[in-house]
Amino acid sequence: MAPSKTASVSGRKSAAKPAKKDFNGGTIAEFDKQQELQAYRDMLLIRRFEEKAGQLYGMGFIGGFCHLYIGQEAVVVGMQMSLKEGDQVITGYRDHGHMLATGMSARGVMAELTGRRGGYSKGKGGSMHMFSKEKQFYGGHGIVGAQVSLGTGLAFANKYRGNDSISTAYFGDGAANQGQVYESFNMAQLWKLPIVYVIENNRYAMGTSVSRASAQTDFSQRGASFGIPGFQVDGMDVRAVKAAGDEAAEHCRSGKGPIILEMLTYRYRGHSMSDPAKYRSKDEVQKMRSEHDPIEQVKNRLLEKHWATEEELKAIDKDVRDVVSDSADFAQSDPEPDTSELYTDILL
């Protein structure tokens, strides 16, 4: 799960050239066998983890809000393959996938979901509020859009320190309409801060489709008035995400300031566990699943290229399921936080 540092991408178009705008277009990174297998495994871990989380929610082990990432796995996995050690990640409340992708342990995340002491926040944060200093994961934020300003602050710190790190701030098509997003865009471009704004356009802000909430639905152009370049990326194809991530990271590291990547993606589940998602048709969801599923795409390529056999992929699946089962077992057996924790971590 550690960020891939071995990626050598041949055939990638020059950094200056924007990705194409059509959904299944854009620059595609050529993955070698190792990268395809890595992406397959990382995305599968997120999917199986989220399926298990949904199951535990239904059983009453997870409370409150629980927003699943199923369908969007290629976005964070592809981006993470473009990052280096020390780069920061921050996102909103649909955050389990980001945590797993940054290398946070499935046990720690799942135990936080069940509110147990072994969770990343000792059970005090829950689904939407988890952090890992070690993995440079800065949350996990429950206020729509807050992470955009905060992520810009992480980039400010990088520039202040003069290091080579970049910040990646993920937010949805819903958050993209928040005022502080544009305040942040302005400062990021003004001060040339190294940040990749990753807009995960999954087409619905809770139950409102982008066309009903956004006057301009091409989110990649939301930075245009600040002169921030932006590209639409096929967020269902991990290779397209990786290619865009590489270009964006290069842009930021070379001192050119912020960049926007609009990831065209899709969430299969409702907004949260309590959302039956009646605002869209079953056909729409089914079509995405059968034609664009990010994991199936990798799987098919692995098989076509004879880089893996069905049996080998099944073995990966089994490994992943074992990790997830282990995390679920841990999350159900780990004790709740000691009551003394009520009054800890308020002030240092």
Binding site: Q88, I90, G119, Y120, S121, K122, G123, K124, G125, H129, M130, F131, S132, K133, Y138, G139, G140, H141, G142, I143, A146, V148, S149, L150, G151, T152, G153, L154, A155, F156, A157, N158, Y160, G179, Q180, Y182, E183, S184, N186, M187, L190, T344, D345, I346, L347, L348
Partner: protein, 476 residues
């Protein structure tokens, strides 16, 4: 009739200024809009423009004169046909320094008013730019200051700046960001000279986007820097309050102690003068109800310095509530290499035995005067300056109440859910048996701040109310 040109008020709080330079001489023809003089206030150097046409008949105030009160005639303009001989007025004596009268906060400023000179022309440090300060106010000795320490009369404004400069010298991760903090030298000149010493990397002018830059500050703090986020006033911080509370105050808890926001949010808070409802709110009670924050509200320059240094070093988010009217007031500040005061500790401003007054920030200006008046009437009041609102030093208050049996609180904020009502509740719960009278809370009135001068005065607490309240709890 010759026209008197008067010393103009160039900001809402300006009472006096220095006539630094005449740009016209006697006999010069001026038309409206001509710049005739430069005036230095404690916040900026401003140009004075002629309003009427005519010939400068006489300059009444010499260039370089300090403490020229607002509305003093500074020159006489002759109309057509008039001669300088027709000027009967004697050249007035050099005006005396304005007497500080904090009880009627006369004026506070808005940086937007007037035409400020280009910042690059501003002197780099306050040493070259002696701002007119109000007379020094005497304060009881602070046990945290070693006896015999040399004291230097300092304005609250300078004390705050010195605190930031010292901490920025000490710690490379400390930086200041906010509107007009750098090139302009601070909307209220609190950050004066910092840009020149520390450069644009560490003194960062932001766009006027409080929500966004507060979030950027919190993010930088989460990444381990120590931002000082200046709000031009805390009224504007309402735009940013989500980031202050939901991000800065709660992250340490939500992350199970992994990361927090070691930072200071500071700026003027509460009513200034004649700036009406949207610019005149006291947020002490608001922020003090939030776990995860510390809230400091100093009155004296020494406390401002020692507590701001402590706030910058504190690993938690600290809300540092200043007051524009106090900026220009002078107090003794100990001359120590590293003067840091403890956050969360009240200071007994004056010992007494008959009743206790608890106040903080600008509330202390009413309290100190009330204490002096009551003394004349034979009532010996113990006055406690809370200094920190959260964590609140209740033990010091309770110790005092155990001695006096009577308590009055004084603040400018709204009366409902005020800091005073919080103190009253807790003292009632923890020291009920020691109370000889109901606790009275003096606060601002339960109205938005009006603009009209008479209504504004009514909306704020006054010394008479405090005196009366103390008499009431003393049954006198």
């Amino acid at each position: 009739m010759p026209i008197d040109i008067l010393m103009p008020a160039l900001s809402p709080t300006m009472e006096e200024g220095t006539l630094s330079k005449w740009l016209k001489k006697e006999g010069d023809q001026v038309t409206s809009g001509d710049v005739i003089a430069e005036i230095e206030t404690d916040k900026a150097t401003m140009e004075v423009e002629a309003v009427d046409e005519g010939v400068i008949g006489k300059l009444l105030i010499d260039a370089g004169t300090e403490n020229v009160k607002v509305n003093t005639p500074i020159a006489v303009l002759l109309q057509e046909g008039e001669s300088a001989d027709s000027i009967s007025a004697e050249k007035p004596a050099q005006p005396e320094a304005a007497k500080a009268d904090a009880d009627t906060p006369a004026a506070t400023s808005d940086a937007a008013g007037g035409k400020a000179r280009e910042a690059k022309d501003e002197p780099a440090s306050s040493a070259d730019n002696k701002v007119p300060a109000q007379p020094k106010i005497d304060v009881a000795a602070d046990p945290d200051i070693p006896e015999g320490t040399e004291m230097v009369s300092t304005t609250v404004r300078e004390a705050l700046r010195d605190a930031m400069a010292e901490e920025m010298r000490r710690d490379e991760t400390v930086f200041v960001m906010g509107e007009e903090v750098a090139e302009y030298q601070g909307a209220y000149k609190v950050t004066q000279g910092l840009l020149q010493e520390f450069g644009a990397r560490r003194v960062v002018d932001t766009p006027i986007t409080e929500h966004g830059f507060a979030g950027v500050g919190v993010g930088a703090a989460m990444a381990g820097l120590r931002p000082i986020v200046e709000f031009m006033t805390f009224n504007f911080a309402m735009q940013a309050i989500d980031q202050i509370i939901n991000s800065a105050a709660k992250t340490l808890y939500m992350s199970g102690g992994q990361m927090g926001a070691p930072m200071v949010f500071r700026g003027p808070n509460g009513a200034a003068a004649r700036v009406a409802a949207q610019h005149s709110q006291d947020y002490a009670a608001w922020y003090s109800s939030i776990p995860g924050l510390k809230v400091v509200m100093p009155y004296t320059a020494a406390d401002a310095k020692g507590l701001l240094k402590a706030a910058i070093r504190d690993p938690n988010p600290v809300i540092f509530l200043e007051n524009e009217i106090l900026y220009g007031q002078s107090f003794d500040v100990p001359k120590l290499d590293d003067f840091v005061l403890p956050i969360g500790k009240a200071r007994i401003h004056k010992q007494g035995k008959d009743a206790t007054i608890v106040s903080f920030g600008i509330g202390m200006t009413y309290a100190t005067k009330a204490v002096a008046e009551l003394e004349k009437e034979g009532i010996d009041v113990e006055l406690i300056d809370l200094r920190t609102i959260r964590p609140m030093d209740l033990p010091t208050v309770i110790e005092s109440v155990k001695k006096t049996g009577r308590l009055v609180t004084v603040e400018e904020g709204y009366p409902q859910n005020s800091v005073g009502t919080e103190i009253a509740t807790r003292v009632m719960q923890q020291a009920f048996d020691y109370l000889d009278a109901p606790i009275l809370t003096i606060a601002g009135k339960d109205v938005p701040m009006p603009y009209a001068a008479n209504l504004e005065k009514l909306a704020l607490p006054n010394v008479g109310e405090v005196v009366q309240a103390v008499k009431t709890v003393c049954y006198k």
